[in-house]
Every structure is written in structure tokens, then in C-alpha cells.
Symmetry: C2
Subunit: 140 residues, 2 copies
Amino acid sequence: MSAHSHDIEEGLDFRPKFDAAGLVTVVATDAATGDLLMVAHMNDEALRKTIATGEAWYFSRSRNALWRKGESSGQTQRVVEMRTDCDQDAVWIRVEQVGAACHTGRRSCFYRKVEPQGGIAKLVFVDAERLFDPDKVYKK
Amino acid sequence: MSAHSHDIEEGLDFRPKFDAAGLVTVVATDAATGDLLMVAHMNDEALRKTIATGEAWYFSRSRNALWRKGESSGQTQRVVEMRTDCDQDAVWIRVEQVGAACHTGRRSCFYRKVEPQGGIAKLVFVDAERLFDPDKVYKK
């Protein structure tokens, strides 16, 4: 292992490895239940704001903008713990989620199972109850 | 919402949205405890092999190669459930992990907490016990 890899994997300096677009992948789980809520991205600024405020900020690739989770919907995330992985290109946050994490109104973005079905994989809804109506919340 | 987005978010066809490099982000959690084990990537072939065999296959960006989890280390992952998220650019697998998920020998890749410390974030080891010695397992 190179000295550099060793520092990244075994060191105590937080040196997030941003991708070519300046982002790290972030996994948010429910601190109470452990359920996976969402997978999103942070840039350096979102990461700093999250650490400084204790609330989750992300960077939206589709809107190309910094975004405080819940700023439109009120469905904020308070960060209970943040971790990083061996090569520091991913961040895990355990959060207290107000309401629903998903913009579709569901608690989690992962509301469909992938199931093999005659050679083709199909999706099956699971835990897919909506906690809010996205058409009302986002006023599309 | 466009008709296309509606199909992706509310439909039952599995249409993974691969990035420019042909990859989707994959989150693997421990089916027994719910703990986050690792964040990695699959290309179309890895995804198909995972679905067909019930064992996790990934695509390594650093080695630019398809890879059956555990093929060097014996630390395989049996997939108990697979889900996808609203926009189908991420996959969640709940797995039965043999031994350690992390190449450093730890159960999870997320063995360090990020903690604010005088304006700078520092890392603190947590759940960092090694289950195997990577120098022996990978014969570096």
C-alpha cells in the first residue's frame, strides 16, 4: 500500500476525495430505525455547512445547486453522526428525518424491490405509502 | 413531472440509470443488523450477475474490472433483497456478509466518525476492529 493510501485509510485527517464534478456520495440512514433513506451528493460547501450546522445540506446534480434538505418541503434532516469510508470518497450520515426523505413523499427513496421475473428484473412496491403529496408541497 | 420521470419513479420496469462511466452507485447493508457495510458501483454486467446468482458482483473503478465480492478474500455477500431508488440511479442491497466487507479487514468500510474539532473536522476510529489481516489475505 502506498504511504498516501495508508494516510487516507488509517489516518485521522478528514480529506474527502471529491470526484471530477467536485462531489462525494452521501448515504443517509434513519438514526432511529437504521433504514436507508436516500443516496445523494455533497460538494465541499455542502459538507462544510452540514458539519457546521448539524443539518443536512446537499448538492443537486440535476439543479446544479447547493440545497438545504427540507428548504422547500420542510422535511429536514438533523445529523446525529457522520462517518466516512476507507478511501474517503463516501460519507454516511445517520439522521433524524422529519417526515419523508423522498421528493415523492415517501419516507425513503427506496420504495421498490428489484425481483427477478422470468429472466427480466421487475420492480415491486414496498413501504411505498406517501407521507405528503408532492404536487402540493412543491407547487409544481 | 414529465411522462418519462413518472415512468421511472412510479413504474414497475427496472431501468437503472447508469452514469457517464456506465455505473450505478450501490449501497450494501447488513441484512441482520442494518449496519452500512460499503458503498460501491455496479455496471450493467455486475448488476445482471448479482441478480442472476444472488451474490454481489461489483465494478471496480480503480482496477477498471468486474469483480465478484470475496473472490480474493473469501468475504462474499449473499443478497437477501435488492431495491432501487426513485430515479433509479442507486441500488440498495441487503446482504449476508461473510466476515468483513472492507478490504482493510474491518466489518464495515465506515470505521471512522467525522467530528468537528476547533473549526476543523477530524476522524475518530469506531467499530474498527480488524477481522482479517489484509496483508495476508491479499498477499501484497
